[in-house]
């Protein structure tokens, strides 16, 4: 903290001093012939400045900014030896203007001196694209056939940043610079810089405990504290002790990096201040009765009264955002027509929005309706993805109601759900900061200053405290971490969370009673899936339907395939009816996939999806995921087969195979209506309104337990109770059940089965 404060104060000065020093060197001592800036004047270059030889004089971990700059200047690419393009040159100029570039010397010094380094740079400082390149020129991973890894919490970021850096380095994406995300690997034998999701690096560690392929690992956006980043930090803390040659950089965008420093044995810290302007913060005098309504009012007021500048409004989810956009649009049109304000264009922004529509937020604000009239403005209504991960220039006004949708998990009722919750103080500060990107801005907080101080928690809870850890525990076991109780995490979760995860894995037969990994568990950890899904897939050949379960697993791993636009709900429901299977949603989804792969649909899949209110993107993705999973199955020699469609057991086999994965997610109907009670946890739930279940079903399996003000189960399929006891006798050990209706019902089933057995025996 102390260090940083000092840096903030002195930054301007120190940067100026440094620049002067470089110039001195250039003017005074340097021979103009070796001056890289004048290299174009000297045709006969010494060979060491040429092409890949430019790096030959470099001493690993002892290079300077000067050397690197010379190599970057070309004329040939330092890593490929090919001549550099003019596009490269123009990008290079921009790159050298980025804030991080001014601290390259300092960065190199700390990087060379220390095994672990914490680097703080705000969004827009250029850290994600530049730091890995700085590392490349000093770490020279190509000399030892190693790579530099840079992790990202999001797939999209990994892809787009890799694309950008490939351009900056003037190489083909997938060659020297590549990326690796779940279900997609775009790297090759020449790759020296690999952007990847944190989850992918974790998966790689399962097969290579010391991550020997990498010479430097950069954990970017560590402040987001994703589950995978937290686990990686715990692992790497141990790996760096075993591998003294491995360097580790933790990059964070927020100033609270001291926590990282402390966790990593007081590693040195380097901070690059971002370019930000002051933001004036306003609070409401009293709490708001309806935060959405208050938000709309505020946006319109800003539009009518504040000078030019775009607006960013934070809301919680797709539906709320689309609804708000519609309302703002209507009101703003009225305002504009009456001459009370200029034109206003409203754009929604959320994760599931197609990329083409996401791009629209970068459109410039509309011009005045009449030349010289009141200036136009754009308003972006976004989830918290605009909080850190996306930078939108031109935002001057931020409206912050103080809520976001956050994942919560509670091991006591085993529910993992997205709930609207108050944000943290850190989040609120981050949101306000978005208003000061281009010039001084204003942030309107729709709560009182008192509420900000007293009601908001300091930091958002890291994901590890809000997640089911079954998947993570399986990965850690595979990673060879045996003692999970004392595994050194930055924020250890509640013990019950680990308890529940171990228990679930035991019921899934992935861990034995001693907590040791079983063969099935080891196999399941090889699939990039939830343990329940992996187990279902692995056991599906026993039910003669691995082809179908493979399709279903893929469908359950992608976003919702059904599209239900607000303006066309009825038509969408009619279309869904075409695919409906009376036994439930899983089978309905399978019908959709089969139809999608049919001849008629494949002749023009995009149009077909559009006509049937299906998401082309999701189905395409499912297709891709299926292919990847199929490869793993083939590698593991798991047989792919189907029950003949004519066989009357075709669907029953699929239902049974579903039970093999989802026997812990079962509900029994209570009375005659839509009300169900979950088995063991005994939670009252309702079938989600989207459910297709034509038949009377006393017992169902569900994919998701959704918490809202009501409890819902979503993606539901009918099953028979005897299957439950047949397929998972351990979980359905009735002596472990609480007294009650569910136990009674299951006892009746057992007795019936026994009677049948006896009859059979008698007849024999």
């Amino acid at each position: 903290m102390h260090d940083m404060a000092k840096r903030e104060n002195n930054d301007d000065d120190s940067a100026r001093v440094k620049r002067v020093k470089v110039e001195e060197n250039g003017n005074g001592k340097m021979d103009p012939a070796t001056n890289p800036y004048l290299s174009h004047l000297y045709d006969e270059q010494p060979s060491e400045y040429n092409g890949s030889n430019a790096l030959s004089s470099f001493k690993r971990h002892a290079t300077t900014t000067k050397q690197a700059s010379r190599a970057e200047d070309g004329p040939n690419n330092a890593f490929t030896g090919r001549p550099l393009s003019s596009k490269y040159m123009s990008i290079l100029k921009t790159r050298r203007g980025l804030p991080v570039h001014q601290q390259r010397d300092e960065f190199l010094k700390l990087y060379q001196e220390s095994q672990i380094l914490v680097f703080v740079g705000e969004t827009g400082s250029g850290k994600t694209t530049q730091i890995p390149q700085f590392v490349l020129f000093d770490d020279l991973p190509n000399q030892n056939a190693q790579m530099v890894a840079c992790t990202q919490p999001r797939r999209v970021a990994a892809m787009s940043v890799a694309q950008r850096v490939a351009e900056e380095m003037d190489v083909e994406l997938g060659e020297e610079v590549g990326y690796s995300i779940r279900f997609e690997d775009k790297t090759g034998p020449n790759t020296i810089l690999k952007y990847m999701t944190d989850g992918m690096l974790l998966r790689e560690a399962m097969n290579d405990h010391n991550l020997t392929r990498y010479s430097t690992i950069i954990l970017d956006e560590a402040h987001e504290r994703t589950l995978a980043t937290d686990i990686l930090m715990g692992l790497l803390k141990e790996v760096v002790l075993r591998r003294k040659d491995l360097k580790l950089i933790i990059m964070s965008a927020t100033l609270d990096a001291t926590k990282f420093q402390k966790y990593f044995h007081n590693a040195p810290l380097l901070a690059v201040p971002g370019r930000t302007h002051p933001v004036e913060v306003f609070y409401t005098p009293a709490p708001e009765r309806d935060y959405v309504e208050a938000a709309l009012r505020t946006v319109l007021q800003i539009h009518a009264t504040e000078p030019e500048g775009d607006i960013l409004l934070f809301l919680t989810g797709e539906e709320e955002i689309e609804d708000a956009c519609r309302k703002i649009n209507l009101e703003a049109q009225d305002l504009s027509r009456e001459g009370g304000a200029g034109p206003l264009v409203v754009y929604p922004l959320y994760g599931t929005l197609p990329p083409a529509q996401q791009q629209k937020i970068f459109n410039p604000a509309p011009p005045p309706t009449t030349p010289g009239g009141r200036p136009g403005r754009k308003c972006i209504v976004s989830t918290n993805i605009a909080e850190t991960s996306l930078t939108i220039d031109g935002i001057v006004y931020v409206v912050d109601p103080g809520f976001s949708k956050q994942k919560v998990y509670n091991p006591r009722i085993r529910v993992e759900s997205l709930l609207v919750s108050p944000i943290s103080k850190a989040s609120a500060q981050q949101r306000a900061g978005r208003a000061g990107r281009t010039r001084p801005g204003k942030c309107f907080r729709l709560y009182t200053e008192q509420a900000f101080k007293k009601e908001l928690i300091e930091q958002t809870y890291p994901e590890i405290l809000r997640s089911n850890l079954a998947s993570t525990v399986l990965e850690l076991k595979k990673l060879g971490v045996d003692d999970l109780v004392h595994f050194d995490l930055m924020d250890p979760p509640a013990p019950e969370t680990l308890m529940r995860a171990l228990e679930e894995l035991n019921y899934l037969a992935c861990l034995d009673d001693e907590g040791e990994l079983t063969t099935l568990g080891s196999l399941a950890s090889g699939f990039p899936l939830d343990p329940a899904l992996a187990v279902m897939l692995i056991t599906s050949p026993e039910f003669y339907c691995s082809n179908e379960i493979l399709s279903l697993t893929a469908l359950l791993s992608v976003p919702q395939v059904f599209v239900r636009p607000a303006a066309n709900r009825k038509r969408a429901d009619e279309m869904k009816e075409l695919f409906a299977h009376p036994k439930g949603d899983h089978l309905t989804m399978l019908n959709v996939y089969h139809a999608f792969k049919g001849e008629e649909a494949q002749s023009n899949p995009k149009q077909w999806c559009h006509d049937h209110f299906l998401s082309y993107r999701a189905l395409q993705q499912a297709d891709n995921v299926r292919l990847q999973l199929k490869r793993i199955m083939e590698r593991e020699e798991l047989e792919l087969m189907s029950t003949p469609f004519e066989n009357k057991k075709y669907y029953e086999n699929i239902q049974r195979a579903l039970v093999a994965g989802f026997f812990m997610q079962v509900a029994k109907r209570e009375g005659n209506g839509k009300a169900y009670v979950t088995v063991k946890d005994e939670q009252n739930v309702l079938l989600h309104p989207s459910t297709v279940l034509a038949e009377d079903s006393e017992w169902v399996i569900y994919n998701e337990f959704v918490l809202t003000t009501k409890n819902y189960i979503r993606t539901v399929t009918s099953v028979k109770p005897e299957w439950l006891m047949d397929i998972s006798p351990n979980y359905y050990d009735l002596s472990q059940f609480k007294k009650g209706e569910i136990k009674q019902a299951l006892l009746r089933v057992t007795q019936k089965l026994q009677r049948k057995e006896a009859e059979k025996g008698g007849r024999r």
Partner: protein
């Protein structure tokens, strides 16, 4: 002997159980019971009942920690984990899962706690009042005496001010310089200015009412009366509730006239004393004698205060 004593001890006598009904229910009874149970089961719970059940079950489950019989617990115990321990190596690790809070409406941050705070305040206020009244019970007589005295002082103050005003007006008329009826209240002598101000407020109010009745209320003739939770604005607009105007004047008053505010803030006896002195000095008038003496000596008047006139 002892034996017979015991036998005779009627205190220890054991009664046969009171006769009960038949040990087994009859077929008719069973049928009736089954029917009742069946009806209870078959009855569809109302939506509200179901929701309440669901919430109760959820809250109960959320409040119950996983038991030590949990298989996961046993695996963790292998590594020395005990009930009450935390995971990892940091000091301040979590013991309990994060609470699950469902948000059922669109209320803004702080609204819930604001409601709770108001409720708490009201409650505390009620408690304070209850406590105070209890304390006062003890010296009821003394309190009543003080109250009576205070009330009397207020009445005296009022009549002293009235008298002072009257005498001043009379004096002006006698001099041939009668004061204009619409003399701004701020120009009135501080000692009785409050009377003038009160009159001005009433006038103002009447005028407002008239104006509003003539304009808005007449244009919105039927939109009145029945709905109680209308916004304050509309009540005012319809001239039905003039409290806001009054309060706004009340608020202005400190800004408008700090002198008067200061004077009014003085305790009643002190103000009364000031007026009594003024009346004696200016008009040789004693309120308690009810007589205007011819000269400053006020001969025959026992003194300034009421007590002295007893």
């Amino acid at each position: 002997m002892a034996q017979s004593d015991e036998d005779d001890d009627y205190m220890n006598m054991v009664f046969e159980d009171a006769p009960k009904g038949p040990k087994y229910e009859t077929s008719l009874q069973r049928a009736a019971r089954k029917r009742k149970e069946g009806e209870a089961r078959a009855r569809q719970k109302t939506k509200a009942e179901r929701e309440a059940d669901a919430e109760a079950a959820r809250e109960a489950a959320l409040a119950t920690a996983l038991p030590e019989t949990n298989k996961g617990f046993k695996m963790m115990a292998k590594f020395g984990f005990k009930q009450g321990d935390t995971l990892g190596k940091s000091e301040d690790a979590r013991k309990e899962p994060i609470r699950v809070d469902m948000k059922g409406d669109k209320s803004g941050i702080g609204l819930e706690s604001e409601k709770k705070r108001k409720f708490r305040e009201q409650w505390a206020q009620a408690e304070r009042e209850a406590k105070r009244s209890k304390e006062e019970e003890g010296d009821y007589v003394e309190i009543r005496r003080l109250e009576a005295k205070e009330k009397k002082a207020e009445r005296d103050l009022d009549s002293a001010q009235r008298t002072a005003e009257r005498l001043t007006e009379k004096e002006a008329e006698d001099k041939g310089t009668p004061q204009p009826a619409d003399k701004p209240w701020k120009d009135v002598n501080l000692l009785w200015r409050t009377r003038a101000r009160r009159r001005a407020v009433i006038m103002h109010e009447k005028q407002q009412r008239r104006e509003l009745n003539n304009s808005l209320a007449s244009r919105l003739p039927t939109l009145a009366a029945e709905d109680d939770d209308e916004e304050d604005d509309s009540k005012v607009a319809q001239g039905r509730d003039l409290a806001p105007f009054y309060t706004s004047l009340e608020d202005d008053f400190v800004d408008e006239d700090p002198d008067l505010a200061e004077f009014e803030a003085l305790p009643v006896p002190e103000r009364l004393q000031k007026l009594l002195t003024y009346l004696r000095e200016k008009f040789h008038y004693c309120l308690y004698c009810g007589y205007q003496y011819p000269d400053a000596e006020l001969e025959g008047c026992p003194g300034l205060t009421d007590e002295e006139h007893d």
